[in-house]
Amino acid sequence: MLAQQVCSLLGKGCGSSVGRVVRHSVTGVRNLANQPNPATQSEDEPAKYDSHEISRRDYRFIFPEFLPDPKPEWRNALAEKLVRQDMLNRRDQIEIPEFYVGSSLSVTVSDKNSPHPNKVSRFVGKCIDRGGTGLRAWFTLRNVIEGQGVEFMYQMYNPTILKIEVLRLMRSIDEDLYYLRDAPPEYSTVPFDLEAEILPEGAPVPIDDTVVALNPRPWNRNWDKHIGIVYKGYTISDMYPTPGKCRRMSRYMAENMAGWQMQTLKYDMMRDYRNTIPAEEQDAIWEEVADKLETRDSQMRKVAAKRAFIRPTKKL
C-alpha cells in the first residue's frame, strides 16, 4: 500500500531540478476529471466515474507548478508562500488553463518588434514538455511551419504573455515528446487556424495514444535505448541495422550497465520519496490556494459553457 501511495503522489512538477522526474511513476492512464480519492478508495474496487469530482490531491497534475522543488537545500516555507501569492495574483490577470504534454496550445505574446498594429505575436503548437516550479514554470510548444520545425519555450507567469488558449486538451502517454524532432513532421504540425475545442462538462481528459513511427537514423538522441522503458509513444522500424548495434544494445542492457540501471529505477522507492513533496505538505498547499483556483475555474467554465461543442470522432 505504501508503494501505491508514494507512486500516486508523484506529480510532474516535482524533481525538475534533480535530473528528470521519474517516468514510470505516473502509472498508466489517468482520468483526471473523475479521479477517485486515494484516501477513500481501496485498490481492488473499480474507480467510479459517475460524477465530475476532482479531489484536491489531483491538483498536483492540473497545477503542478504550485508544488515547490523537492530539493531540501532550497526549501523555505516563507519564500514558497510568497511565490504562490504572486502566482495567484498573476492568475487573476490572465487565464492559465489546465493543459498537459500532448495538448495543442495557442500563446499570444506582446512583442514590440511585431509588425501587427497591436504589437502581438501568436504561436500555435503542441506542448512537448513542461516543467519548472513556482514562477519559473515553463512549457515548450512545437510546430512545423513551412517545413521548418520550430519550438518555443514560454514562461507561464511572464507578464508579457497576453493569452494562453488550449485548442485541444489532451494528454500523451509519455511525459515529454522530444522524439517528435526525429519523427515525420505531420505528427508535430498544428494548423494556425485551429479552432479551440471545449470539452463537455465532466468529460475525462482524452489520452492521445498515437504511436509515432520514427525517422530512420541519424537521430538527436539514442531513441533505441529508451524505447519501452522511458517512452511508449514511438516505434522504430530497424532497431539493429548492423551487427554492431545489436552487440552495443545487449552490452547496454547487460547487468549493472546503464540500460539495466534505467530499468531498475521504477523499483527505486527512495528516489520517488526524494522527488515527492509529502502528502501533508501538499494538502496544506492546496488548502492555501485551492479556493482561489476553484473560483477562477468556475468562472472559466461559465465562459466555456457558452462556446462548447462536441468534438468529432474523426482525428485531424
Binding site: 537545500e73 523555505n76 519564500a79 510568497l82 495574483n89 506582446s110 514590440k112 514562461q155 507578464p159
Partner: protein
C-alpha cells in the same frame, strides 16, 4: 515626575547626504524571478529580516585606545591618527533572531538584558554618523530600506573545498589533445630561475576556496514586503546557501548613494531615517515595488 534622563528616548536624526546608519541582519530564503515593465526578466534573492533589534551603541573613543586601534590592526574607519571618515561617531550593534537564554552564558545574555532583549543568535556592527544613531532596544524591520535603493550585502560564501587553479584563480589550463602530457588542469609555470631563483610569496596555487566573508556591493532593492519583512534584492548570486545570515546596509559606492541617484529619484534620501519606528510601521502598505518592476496585480505588459 519627569522621566529620568537615562530613560528618556534618544533623539532621532534627520537624513542628509553623507549620513550612515545601521543596516540589518537578514536570512537568505530563496531566489525568484521578477519582471520589469519593459518585459525583461530579472532574478532576485529574497532576504528575510528576522527579529532584528538594536543591541548597543558604542562611541568611537572606545576603539581608539583598544587593540583594534593598534598600528597594523586599524580598520580604515576608526583609530587614533586615522581620521578618514571623521563624521562617524560610533558603532551600532544589531542583533537578529532571539533564542533561549539557557543556551548562552550569563555574560552573553547580559549584553542584551541591559536593553531588555532576549539573547540573539547573530550580531553585526555598523559604523554610524551622529544622526544615524538608534536607541538600543528599538526593533528594526525591512522598512528601514526604500524600494529602488542600492545596498551592500556582506556574508560568508559557500564552501567549495580544496580546488585547483582553474576554479580558484580562473587559470586557462592546457589543451585536451595535441600531445599535452598529463597537464590538462595543472597550474603550469610558477616562476623563472633568473631573478629570485625561488617561488615568490603569493604565487597563485591550488587551495581552499569559499567560506570567506565577502562584500557584494551595489545590489538594488526591487521590492519590499513590509508585512513579512522580506527584501527582494537584484541578483541571484548573493553569497551563501538558503538559511544563511547576511548583513545588508546602505551602499558605500559613490555613484549609487542616495544623493547621487538622480535618475532613480532617490536624492531626497531614505523614507524612514534612521529606521521606521513602531508607530510609523502602521501606515505602511503590505508591499511596495521599485518603479521599474512589474506588479503581478497589474495588467499584462503591452507594447502598444
Amino acid at each position: 515626575g519627569p522621566l529620568k534622563e537615562e530613560f528618556a528616548p534618544w533623539t532621532r536624526g534627520k537624513w542628509e547626504p553623507g549620513s550612515r546608519r545601521p543596516g540589518v541582519l537578514a536570512v537568505k530564503i530563496g531566489v525568484q524571478p521578477l519582471w520589469l515593465k519593459n518585459g525583461k526578466q530579472i532574478l532576485c534573492t529574497l532576504l528575510h529580516v528576522q527579529d532584528n533589534h538594536v543591541v548597543k551603541f558604542q562611541t568611537r573613543d572606545k576603539f581608539d585606545r583598544g587593540y583594534v586601534a593598534e598600528k597594523g590592526n586599524m580598520p580604515i574607519y576608526t583609530g587614533v591618527g586615522n581620521r578618514k571618515a571623521a563624521n562617524l561617531t560610533g558603532f551600532v550593534t544589531v542583533g537578529a533572531i532571539s533564542t533561549d537564554p539557557q543556551k548562552y552564558t550569563k555574560d552573553y545574555c547580559g549584553l542584551f538584558s541591559q536593553c531588555g532583549l532576549a539573547p540573539k543568535r547573530h550580531l553585526a556592527r555598523f559604523p554610524v554618523t551622529d544622526n544615524g544613531v538608534i536607541q538600543p532596544g528599538t526593533p528594526i524591520s525591512a522598512a528601514l530600506f526604500r524600494p529602488g535603493q542600492y545596498v551592500d550585502v556582506y556574508g560568508r560564501t559557500q564552501e567549495r573545498g580544496f580546488q585547483g587553479g582553474m576554479k580558484r584563480w580562473g587559470f586557462a589550463g592546457m589543451p585536451a589533445t595535441h600531445g599535452t602530457t598529463k597537464s590538462h588542469r595543472r597550474i603550469g609555470h610558477i616562476g623563472s630561475g633568473c631573478d629570485k631563483s625561488r617561488v615568490w610569496p603569493g604565487q597563485k596555487m591550488p587551495g581552499w576556496v569559499g567560506g570567506m566573508y565577502k562584500w557584494m556591493k551595489g545590489l538594488r532593492i526591487l521590492r519590499i514586503n513590509y508585512a513579512e519583512n522580506v527584501l527582494y534584492v537584484s541578483g541571484h548570486a548573493v553569497m551563501g546557501k538558503t538559511g544563511d545570515i547576511l548583513q545588508v546596509c546602505d551602499t558605500k559606492l559613490h555613484a549609487k548613494r542616495f544623493e547621487n541617484c538622480h535618475k532613480e529619484g532617490l536624492t531626497d534620501g531614505p523614507k524612514y531615517f534612521p529606521t521606521a519606528f513602531p508607530e510609523q510601521l502602521e501606515e505602511l502598505p503590505e508591499e511596495e515595488y521599485c518603479d521599474k518592476v512589474h506588479d503581478f496585480k497589474s495588467k499584462s505588459i503591452s507594447h502598444v
